[in-house]
Symmetry: C2
Subunit: 247 residues, 2 copies
Amino acid sequence: MKTANNPLSNIRIVLDHTSHPGNIGSAARAMKTMGLGRMHLVAPQRFPHAEADALACDARDVLEQAQVSATLDEALAGCAIAAGLTARRRDLQHPCLDVREAAQRLLEIAATQQVALLFGNETHGLSNAELTRCQYVISIPTDSAYTSLNVASAVQIMAYELRMASLAHVPSLEETTPLAHLDEIEFFYQKLEETLIRIQFLDPQHPKRLMPRIRRMFARTQLEKEEFSILMGILKQINLFAKSKVD
Amino acid sequence: MKTANNPLSNIRIVLDHTSHPGNIGSAARAMKTMGLGRMHLVAPQRFPHAEADALACDARDVLEQAQVSATLDEALAGCAIAAGLTARRRDLQHPCLDVREAAQRLLEIAATQQVALLFGNETHGLSNAELTRCQYVISIPTDSAYTSLNVASAVQIMAYELRMASLAHVPSLEETTPLAHLDEIEFFYQKLEETLIRIQFLDPQHPKRLMPRIRRMFARTQLEKEEFSILMGILKQINLFAKSKVD
Protein backbone atom coordinates (compact mmCIF):
# COMPACT_ATOMS: atom_id res chain seq x y z
CA MET A 1 0.00 0.00 0.00
CA LYS A 2 2.61 2.49 -1.09
CA THR A 3 0.25 5.46 -1.34
CA ALA A 4 -1.60 4.87 1.93
CA ASN A 5 0.15 7.76 3.63
CA ASN A 6 -0.61 10.39 1.04
CA PRO A 7 -4.26 10.33 0.03
CA LEU A 8 -3.85 13.53 -2.00
CA SER A 9 -1.69 11.61 -4.48
CA ASN A 10 -4.63 9.28 -5.19
CA ILE A 11 -6.90 12.13 -6.23
CA ARG A 12 -7.12 13.26 -9.83
CA ILE A 13 -8.68 16.49 -11.01
CA VAL A 14 -10.56 15.93 -14.28
CA LEU A 15 -11.32 19.05 -16.33
CA ASP A 16 -13.93 18.21 -18.90
CA HIS A 17 -14.12 20.08 -22.23
CA THR A 18 -12.46 23.18 -20.81
CA SER A 19 -12.68 26.11 -23.25
CA HIS A 20 -10.09 28.56 -21.94
CA PRO A 21 -6.45 27.48 -21.62
CA GLY A 22 -5.97 30.15 -18.94
CA ASN A 23 -8.36 28.25 -16.70
CA ILE A 24 -6.33 25.07 -17.15
CA GLY A 25 -3.18 26.93 -16.10
CA SER A 26 -4.90 28.54 -13.09
CA ALA A 27 -6.32 25.17 -12.06
CA ALA A 28 -2.81 23.65 -12.17
CA ARG A 29 -1.52 26.39 -9.89
CA ALA A 30 -4.52 26.00 -7.57
CA MET A 31 -3.86 22.25 -7.37
CA LYS A 32 -0.14 22.48 -6.71
CA THR A 33 -0.48 25.04 -3.91
CA MET A 34 -2.73 22.54 -2.15
CA GLY A 35 -0.53 19.49 -2.77
CA LEU A 36 -2.47 17.95 -5.66
CA GLY A 37 -0.49 16.95 -8.74
CA ARG A 38 -2.62 14.76 -11.00
CA MET A 39 -4.56 16.55 -13.72
CA HIS A 40 -6.64 14.87 -16.43
CA LEU A 41 -7.99 16.86 -19.35
CA VAL A 42 -10.89 15.52 -21.39
CA ALA A 43 -11.03 17.05 -24.87
CA PRO A 44 -9.66 20.48 -23.93
CA GLN A 45 -10.41 23.07 -26.61
CA ARG A 46 -6.83 24.41 -26.72
CA PHE A 47 -4.00 22.58 -25.00
CA PRO A 48 -1.05 22.88 -24.66
CA HIS A 49 -1.22 26.66 -24.87
CA ALA A 50 0.99 29.61 -23.91
CA GLU A 51 -1.75 31.10 -21.74
CA ALA A 52 -2.05 27.91 -19.72
CA ASP A 53 1.71 27.96 -19.14
CA ALA A 54 1.67 31.63 -18.13
CA LEU A 55 -1.09 31.23 -15.55
CA ALA A 56 0.34 28.01 -14.14
CA CYS A 57 3.47 29.94 -13.05
CA ASP A 58 5.64 27.41 -11.23
CA ALA A 59 3.02 24.67 -11.53
CA ARG A 60 3.96 23.99 -15.17
CA ASP A 61 5.07 20.51 -14.13
CA VAL A 62 1.42 19.72 -13.39
CA LEU A 63 0.53 20.71 -16.97
CA GLU A 64 3.43 18.75 -18.43
CA GLN A 65 2.34 15.61 -16.60
CA ALA A 66 -1.37 16.12 -17.34
CA GLN A 67 -3.12 13.20 -19.04
CA VAL A 68 -5.13 14.28 -22.06
CA SER A 69 -7.88 12.02 -23.35
CA ALA A 70 -10.74 12.17 -25.83
CA THR A 71 -13.33 10.64 -23.55
CA LEU A 72 -14.38 10.79 -19.92
CA ASP A 73 -14.07 6.99 -19.72
CA GLU A 74 -10.33 7.15 -20.26
CA ALA A 75 -9.95 9.82 -17.58
CA LEU A 76 -11.91 7.75 -15.06
CA ALA A 77 -10.20 4.40 -15.72
CA GLY A 78 -8.91 2.79 -12.54
CA CYS A 79 -10.91 5.04 -10.20
CA ALA A 80 -13.14 3.68 -7.45
CA ILE A 81 -15.09 6.89 -7.00
CA ALA A 82 -16.01 9.83 -9.20
CA ALA A 83 -17.47 13.03 -7.81
CA GLY A 84 -18.80 15.88 -9.94
CA LEU A 85 -18.94 19.55 -9.06
CA THR A 86 -22.08 21.38 -10.06
CA ALA A 87 -23.61 24.73 -9.22
CA ARG A 88 -27.12 23.55 -9.73
CA ARG A 89 -29.31 20.98 -8.07
CA ARG A 90 -30.34 18.63 -10.84
CA ASP A 91 -33.56 16.78 -11.31
CA LEU A 92 -31.50 13.61 -11.00
CA GLN A 93 -31.52 13.06 -7.27
CA HIS A 94 -27.98 12.02 -6.62
CA PRO A 95 -26.73 12.32 -3.07
CA CYS A 96 -25.61 15.97 -3.05
CA LEU A 97 -22.86 16.89 -0.62
CA ASP A 98 -21.45 20.20 0.36
CA VAL A 99 -17.80 20.61 -0.50
CA ARG A 100 -16.48 20.28 3.06
CA GLU A 101 -18.32 17.08 3.83
CA ALA A 102 -17.36 15.68 0.43
CA ALA A 103 -13.68 16.44 0.96
CA GLN A 104 -13.65 14.47 4.20
CA ARG A 105 -15.35 11.44 2.67
CA LEU A 106 -13.27 11.45 -0.48
CA LEU A 107 -10.04 11.78 1.43
CA GLU A 108 -10.95 8.74 3.50
CA ILE A 109 -11.50 6.73 0.32
CA ALA A 110 -8.35 8.14 -1.29
CA ALA A 111 -6.26 6.67 1.51
CA THR A 112 -6.35 3.37 -0.38
CA GLN A 113 -8.16 3.94 -3.69
CA GLN A 114 -8.23 6.21 -6.72
CA VAL A 115 -10.67 9.13 -6.69
CA ALA A 116 -11.66 11.43 -9.56
CA LEU A 117 -13.10 14.92 -9.22
CA LEU A 118 -14.90 16.22 -12.31
CA PHE A 119 -15.23 19.85 -13.31
CA GLY A 120 -17.36 20.73 -16.33
CA ASN A 121 -17.07 23.19 -19.16
CA GLU A 122 -17.11 26.94 -18.33
CA THR A 123 -20.47 27.58 -19.99
CA HIS A 124 -22.41 24.37 -19.58
CA GLY A 125 -20.92 22.69 -16.50
CA LEU A 126 -21.31 18.92 -16.35
CA SER A 127 -24.10 17.39 -18.39
CA ASN A 128 -26.68 15.14 -16.78
CA ALA A 129 -25.07 12.21 -18.62
CA GLU A 130 -21.72 13.09 -17.04
CA LEU A 131 -23.28 13.51 -13.60
CA THR A 132 -24.78 10.03 -13.83
CA ARG A 133 -21.19 8.78 -13.94
CA CYS A 134 -20.60 10.24 -10.48
CA GLN A 135 -21.31 8.58 -7.16
CA TYR A 136 -21.29 11.98 -5.52
CA VAL A 137 -22.48 15.34 -6.68
CA ILE A 138 -20.81 18.21 -4.87
CA SER A 139 -21.95 21.81 -4.74
CA ILE A 140 -20.19 24.91 -3.49
CA PRO A 141 -22.60 27.20 -1.62
CA THR A 142 -22.48 30.29 -3.82
CA ASP A 143 -24.62 33.36 -3.27
CA SER A 144 -27.99 33.01 -4.96
CA ALA A 145 -27.52 36.45 -6.53
CA TYR A 146 -24.46 35.24 -8.47
CA THR A 147 -23.65 31.56 -8.71
CA SER A 148 -21.17 31.68 -11.58
CA LEU A 149 -17.95 30.48 -10.00
CA ASN A 150 -14.94 30.33 -12.32
CA VAL A 151 -13.86 26.74 -12.96
CA ALA A 152 -10.31 27.28 -11.63
CA SER A 153 -11.83 28.91 -8.54
CA ALA A 154 -14.00 25.84 -8.01
CA VAL A 155 -10.85 23.69 -8.31
CA GLN A 156 -9.15 26.00 -5.78
CA ILE A 157 -11.93 25.65 -3.21
CA MET A 158 -12.20 21.88 -3.65
CA ALA A 159 -8.41 21.45 -3.45
CA TYR A 160 -8.28 23.69 -0.37
CA GLU A 161 -10.96 21.61 1.37
CA LEU A 162 -9.11 18.40 0.48
CA ARG A 163 -5.94 19.84 1.93
CA MET A 164 -7.74 20.95 5.11
CA ALA A 165 -9.21 17.45 5.39
CA SER A 166 -5.78 15.88 4.87
CA LEU A 167 -4.26 18.03 7.62
CA ALA A 168 -6.97 16.79 9.99
CA HIS A 169 -6.78 13.23 8.67
CA VAL A 170 -5.36 10.45 10.80
CA PRO A 171 -4.97 7.36 8.63
CA SER A 172 -7.20 4.53 9.72
CA LEU A 173 -5.57 1.23 10.59
CA GLU A 174 -8.44 -0.72 9.13
CA GLU A 175 -8.32 -1.70 5.49
CA THR A 176 -11.05 -0.19 3.35
CA THR A 177 -13.01 -2.81 1.44
CA PRO A 178 -11.82 -2.75 -2.18
CA LEU A 179 -14.40 -1.00 -4.34
CA ALA A 180 -15.16 -1.81 -7.94
CA HIS A 181 -13.46 0.50 -10.41
CA LEU A 182 -15.54 2.88 -12.45
CA ASP A 183 -14.63 1.17 -15.71
CA GLU A 184 -15.86 -2.10 -14.23
CA ILE A 185 -19.07 -0.42 -13.14
CA GLU A 186 -19.55 1.06 -16.61
CA PHE A 187 -18.97 -2.39 -18.08
CA PHE A 188 -21.60 -3.72 -15.72
CA TYR A 189 -24.13 -1.03 -16.76
CA GLN A 190 -23.47 -1.80 -20.39
CA LYS A 191 -23.96 -5.55 -19.92
CA LEU A 192 -27.00 -4.91 -17.78
CA GLU A 193 -28.58 -2.70 -20.43
CA GLU A 194 -27.93 -5.32 -23.13
CA THR A 195 -29.39 -7.91 -20.85
CA LEU A 196 -32.48 -5.84 -20.11
CA ILE A 197 -33.01 -5.32 -23.82
CA ARG A 198 -32.48 -8.97 -24.49
CA ILE A 199 -35.07 -9.95 -21.92
CA GLN A 200 -37.35 -7.25 -23.37
CA PHE A 201 -37.65 -5.34 -20.16
CA LEU A 202 -36.06 -2.30 -21.81
CA ASP A 203 -37.37 -1.11 -25.15
CA PRO A 204 -34.38 0.57 -26.89
CA GLN A 205 -36.86 2.64 -28.94
CA HIS A 206 -38.45 3.96 -25.73
CA PRO A 207 -35.85 3.65 -23.01
CA LYS A 208 -37.51 6.32 -20.82
CA ARG A 209 -35.39 6.96 -17.72
CA LEU A 210 -34.71 3.39 -16.80
CA MET A 211 -30.92 3.32 -17.02
CA PRO A 212 -30.42 6.65 -15.21
CA ARG A 213 -32.60 5.37 -12.39
CA ILE A 214 -30.59 2.18 -12.14
CA ARG A 215 -27.35 4.12 -12.14
CA ARG A 216 -28.61 6.34 -9.36
CA MET A 217 -29.47 3.32 -7.30
CA PHE A 218 -26.05 1.71 -7.73
CA ALA A 219 -24.29 5.01 -7.21
CA ARG A 220 -25.54 5.06 -3.64
CA THR A 221 -24.23 1.57 -2.92
CA GLN A 222 -20.55 2.16 -3.75
CA LEU A 223 -20.15 -1.21 -5.31
CA GLU A 224 -17.40 -3.42 -3.93
CA LYS A 225 -15.22 -5.60 -6.13
CA GLU A 226 -16.77 -8.83 -4.91
CA GLU A 227 -20.26 -7.50 -5.45
CA PHE A 228 -19.31 -6.51 -8.96
CA SER A 229 -18.16 -10.10 -9.64
CA ILE A 230 -21.40 -11.47 -8.28
CA LEU A 231 -23.52 -9.12 -10.40
CA MET A 232 -21.54 -9.98 -13.52
CA GLY A 233 -22.02 -13.65 -12.75
CA ILE A 234 -25.75 -13.14 -12.49
CA LEU A 235 -25.87 -11.23 -15.80
CA LYS A 236 -23.93 -14.01 -17.49
CA GLN A 237 -26.42 -16.56 -16.30
CA ILE A 238 -29.41 -14.47 -17.36
CA ASN A 239 -27.93 -14.09 -20.83
CA LEU A 240 -27.20 -17.77 -21.10
CA PHE A 241 -30.83 -18.56 -20.37
CA ALA A 242 -32.33 -15.76 -22.45
CA LYS A 243 -30.22 -16.84 -25.40
CA SER A 244 -31.32 -20.45 -25.19
CA LYS A 245 -34.95 -19.35 -24.95
CA VAL A 246 -34.68 -17.07 -28.02
CA ASP A 247 -32.89 -19.87 -29.84
CA MET B 1 -28.22 48.41 13.67
CA LYS B 2 -29.29 48.15 10.08
CA THR B 3 -26.52 45.77 9.00
CA ALA B 4 -26.68 43.43 12.00
CA ASN B 5 -28.33 40.74 9.94
CA ASN B 6 -25.81 40.65 7.15
CA PRO B 7 -22.27 40.54 8.48
CA LEU B 8 -20.88 39.97 4.98
CA SER B 9 -21.91 43.51 4.04
CA ASN B 10 -19.64 44.87 6.80
CA ILE B 11 -16.56 43.19 5.37
CA ARG B 12 -14.35 44.96 2.89
CA ILE B 13 -11.70 43.30 0.75
CA VAL B 14 -8.64 45.55 0.45
CA LEU B 15 -6.28 44.78 -2.42
CA ASP B 16 -3.02 46.55 -1.81
CA HIS B 17 -0.78 47.64 -4.72
CA THR B 18 -2.14 44.98 -7.05
CA SER B 19 -0.08 44.71 -10.24
CA HIS B 20 -2.32 42.78 -12.62
CA PRO B 21 -5.78 44.12 -13.48
CA GLY B 22 -6.89 40.56 -14.29
CA ASN B 23 -6.42 39.66 -10.64
CA ILE B 24 -8.64 42.56 -9.60
CA GLY B 25 -11.37 41.30 -11.94
CA SER B 26 -11.03 37.70 -10.74
CA ALA B 27 -11.13 38.86 -7.13
CA ALA B 28 -14.38 40.76 -7.82
CA ARG B 29 -15.94 37.63 -9.27
CA ALA B 30 -14.66 35.53 -6.36
CA MET B 31 -16.19 38.02 -3.91
CA LYS B 32 -19.58 38.27 -5.56
CA THR B 33 -20.07 34.50 -5.84
CA MET B 34 -19.64 34.37 -2.06
CA GLY B 35 -21.88 37.35 -1.30
CA LEU B 36 -19.20 39.99 -0.68
CA GLY B 37 -19.56 43.30 -2.49
CA ARG B 38 -17.18 45.85 -0.99
CA MET B 39 -13.81 46.15 -2.66
CA HIS B 40 -11.13 48.71 -1.80
CA LEU B 41 -8.09 49.16 -4.01
CA VAL B 42 -4.96 50.80 -2.64
CA ALA B 43 -2.79 52.25 -5.41
CA PRO B 44 -3.58 49.64 -8.05
CA GLN B 45 -1.02 49.65 -10.86
CA ARG B 46 -3.66 49.69 -13.65
CA PHE B 47 -7.31 50.35 -12.86
CA PRO B 48 -9.87 50.59 -14.35
CA HIS B 49 -8.75 48.20 -17.09
CA ALA B 50 -10.39 46.08 -19.80
CA GLU B 51 -8.81 42.91 -18.43
CA ALA B 52 -10.30 43.51 -15.00
CA ASP B 53 -13.73 43.94 -16.59
CA ALA B 54 -13.33 40.79 -18.69
CA LEU B 55 -12.38 38.57 -15.76
CA ALA B 56 -15.03 40.02 -13.46
CA CYS B 57 -17.74 38.70 -15.83
CA ASP B 58 -21.05 39.58 -14.19
CA ALA B 59 -19.34 41.00 -11.10
CA ARG B 60 -18.50 44.25 -12.89
CA ASP B 61 -20.76 46.08 -10.45
CA VAL B 62 -18.25 45.23 -7.71
CA LEU B 63 -15.50 46.92 -9.77
CA GLU B 64 -17.69 49.94 -10.52
CA GLN B 65 -18.40 50.44 -6.82
CA ALA B 66 -14.81 49.76 -5.74
CA GLN B 67 -13.16 52.49 -3.64
CA VAL B 68 -9.75 53.46 -4.94
CA SER B 69 -7.33 55.22 -2.61
CA ALA B 70 -3.69 56.22 -2.55
CA THR B 71 -2.99 54.98 0.97
CA LEU B 72 -3.87 52.06 3.18
CA ASP B 73 -5.09 54.50 5.84
CA GLU B 74 -7.93 55.66 3.63
CA ALA B 75 -8.95 52.09 2.88
CA LEU B 76 -9.02 51.20 6.58
CA ALA B 77 -10.88 54.29 7.80
CA GLY B 78 -13.90 53.39 9.91
CA CYS B 79 -12.87 49.77 10.43
CA ALA B 80 -12.68 48.18 13.87
CA ILE B 81 -10.53 45.27 12.76
CA ALA B 82 -7.99 44.67 10.01
CA ALA B 83 -6.71 41.22 9.15
CA GLY B 84 -3.89 40.56 6.69
CA LEU B 85 -3.35 37.48 4.57
CA THR B 86 0.20 36.24 4.33
CA ALA B 87 1.86 33.09 3.09
CA ARG B 88 4.81 33.41 5.39
CA ARG B 89 5.18 33.39 9.12
CA ARG B 90 6.87 36.65 9.94
CA ASP B 91 9.38 37.41 12.60
CA LEU B 92 6.76 39.74 14.01
CA GLN B 93 4.80 37.44 16.25
CA HIS B 94 1.26 38.55 15.62
CA PRO B 95 -1.46 36.13 16.58
CA CYS B 96 -1.56 33.99 13.42
CA LEU B 97 -4.85 32.29 12.62
CA ASP B 98 -5.73 29.73 10.05
CA VAL B 99 -8.27 30.94 7.56
CA ARG B 100 -11.20 28.92 8.91
CA GLU B 101 -10.79 30.07 12.49
CA ALA B 102 -10.24 33.64 11.30
CA ALA B 103 -13.43 33.61 9.21
CA GLN B 104 -15.50 32.62 12.22
CA ARG B 105 -14.03 35.30 14.46
CA LEU B 106 -14.22 38.04 11.86
CA LEU B 107 -17.80 37.22 10.98
CA GLU B 108 -18.76 37.55 14.63
CA ILE B 109 -17.19 41.01 14.75
CA ALA B 110 -18.72 41.97 11.38
CA ALA B 111 -22.19 41.45 12.79
CA THR B 112 -21.94 44.96 14.25
CA GLN B 113 -18.65 46.50 13.10
CA GLN B 114 -16.57 47.14 10.02
CA VAL B 115 -13.87 44.61 9.14
CA ALA B 116 -11.08 44.90 6.54
CA LEU B 117 -9.23 42.02 4.94
CA LEU B 118 -5.90 42.95 3.38
CA PHE B 119 -4.29 41.19 0.43
CA GLY B 120 -0.83 42.26 -0.64
CA ASN B 121 0.91 42.71 -3.96
CA GLU B 122 1.41 39.63 -6.20
CA THR B 123 5.18 39.61 -5.84
CA HIS B 124 5.86 40.99 -2.38
CA GLY B 125 2.71 40.24 -0.40
CA LEU B 126 2.09 42.52 2.57
CA SER B 127 5.08 44.33 4.02
CA ASN B 128 5.92 44.05 7.69
CA ALA B 129 4.79 47.66 8.08
CA GLU B 130 1.41 46.76 6.59
CA LEU B 131 1.13 43.65 8.76
CA THR B 132 1.70 45.74 11.87
CA ARG B 133 -1.56 47.51 10.97
CA CYS B 134 -3.43 44.23 11.35
CA GLN B 135 -4.85 42.80 14.55
CA TYR B 136 -4.88 39.39 12.92
CA VAL B 137 -2.53 37.72 10.52
CA ILE B 138 -4.16 34.94 8.54
CA SER B 139 -2.42 32.21 6.62
CA ILE B 140 -3.78 29.68 4.17
CA PRO B 141 -2.13 26.27 4.66
CA THR B 142 -0.44 25.82 1.28
CA ASP B 143 1.80 22.89 0.44
CA SER B 144 5.37 23.54 1.51
CA ALA B 145 6.56 22.50 -1.97
CA TYR B 146 4.65 25.40 -3.60
CA THR B 147 3.24 28.18 -1.48
CA SER B 148 2.59 30.74 -4.22
CA LEU B 149 -1.16 31.16 -4.17
CA ASN B 150 -2.58 33.61 -6.71
CA VAL B 151 -4.01 36.71 -4.98
CA ALA B 152 -7.51 36.22 -6.46
CA SER B 153 -7.38 32.58 -5.32
CA ALA B 154 -6.53 33.72 -1.82
CA VAL B 155 -9.52 36.09 -1.97
CA GLN B 156 -11.65 33.17 -3.20
CA ILE B 157 -10.68 30.91 -0.29
CA MET B 158 -11.12 33.65 2.31
CA ALA B 159 -14.49 34.68 0.84
CA TYR B 160 -15.60 31.05 0.72
CA GLU B 161 -14.71 30.54 4.39
CA LEU B 162 -16.55 33.73 5.33
CA ARG B 163 -19.61 32.50 3.46
CA MET B 164 -19.39 29.07 5.15
CA ALA B 165 -19.12 30.83 8.51
CA SER B 166 -22.10 33.05 7.68
CA LEU B 167 -24.22 30.03 6.78
CA ALA B 168 -23.40 28.52 10.17
CA HIS B 169 -23.74 31.84 11.98
CA VAL B 170 -26.61 32.48 14.35
CA PRO B 171 -26.62 36.18 15.21
CA SER B 172 -25.94 36.81 18.87
CA LEU B 173 -28.49 38.82 20.82
CA GLU B 174 -25.81 40.46 22.89
CA GLU B 175 -24.33 43.73 21.77
CA THR B 176 -20.65 43.61 20.97
CA THR B 177 -18.67 46.22 22.86
CA PRO B 178 -17.81 49.04 20.44
CA LEU B 179 -14.17 48.77 19.42
CA ALA B 180 -11.86 51.64 18.60
CA HIS B 181 -11.51 52.29 14.89
CA LEU B 182 -8.22 51.63 13.20
CA ASP B 183 -7.68 55.28 12.39
CA GLU B 184 -8.12 56.07 16.07
CA ILE B 185 -5.64 53.36 16.99
CA GLU B 186 -3.14 54.72 14.47
CA PHE B 187 -3.60 58.18 15.97
CA PHE B 188 -2.92 56.68 19.37
CA TYR B 189 0.29 54.96 18.19
CA GLN B 190 1.46 58.21 16.66
CA LYS B 191 0.79 60.21 19.81
CA LEU B 192 2.34 57.47 21.92
CA GLU B 193 5.49 57.47 19.83
CA GLU B 194 5.78 61.26 20.08
CA THR B 195 5.27 60.98 23.78
CA LEU B 196 7.87 58.25 24.17
CA ILE B 197 10.36 60.39 22.28
CA ARG B 198 9.49 63.39 24.34
CA ILE B 199 10.05 61.52 27.55
CA GLN B 200 13.29 60.16 26.05
CA PHE B 201 12.30 56.57 26.36
CA LEU B 202 12.50 56.19 22.60
CA ASP B 203 15.58 57.41 20.77
CA PRO B 204 14.37 58.31 17.26
CA GLN B 205 17.93 57.72 15.98
CA HIS B 206 17.89 54.18 17.38
CA PRO B 207 14.27 53.15 17.65
CA LYS B 208 15.09 49.42 17.62
CA ARG B 209 11.88 47.40 17.60
CA LEU B 210 10.07 49.29 20.28
CA MET B 211 7.01 50.49 18.33
CA PRO B 212 6.40 47.17 16.56
CA ARG B 213 6.46 45.45 19.94
CA ILE B 214 3.98 47.91 21.36
CA ARG B 215 1.72 47.49 18.36
CA ARG B 216 1.82 43.72 18.74
CA MET B 217 0.80 44.04 22.34
CA PHE B 218 -2.17 46.29 21.59
CA ALA B 219 -3.15 44.22 18.59
CA ARG B 220 -3.95 41.34 20.92
CA THR B 221 -6.16 43.50 23.12
CA GLN B 222 -8.65 44.66 20.48
CA LEU B 223 -8.94 48.08 21.92
CA GLU B 224 -12.42 49.29 22.83
CA LYS B 225 -13.57 52.86 22.24
CA GLU B 226 -13.64 53.72 25.90
CA GLU B 227 -10.16 52.31 26.43
CA PHE B 228 -8.93 54.38 23.53
CA SER B 229 -10.31 57.53 25.22
CA ILE B 230 -8.63 56.61 28.46
CA LEU B 231 -5.26 56.00 26.79
CA MET B 232 -5.47 59.28 24.91
CA GLY B 233 -6.29 61.04 28.17
CA ILE B 234 -3.21 59.53 29.77
CA LEU B 235 -0.99 60.56 26.86
CA LYS B 236 -2.31 64.10 27.08
CA GLN B 237 -1.42 64.27 30.73
CA ILE B 238 2.06 62.84 30.19
CA ASN B 239 2.72 65.42 27.51
CA LEU B 240 1.48 68.21 29.69
CA PHE B 241 3.91 67.27 32.42
CA ALA B 242 6.85 66.48 30.13
CA LYS B 243 6.43 69.82 28.44
CA SER B 244 6.44 71.78 31.69
CA LYS B 245 9.55 69.92 32.82
CA VAL B 246 11.45 70.66 29.60
CA ASP B 247 10.39 74.27 29.83
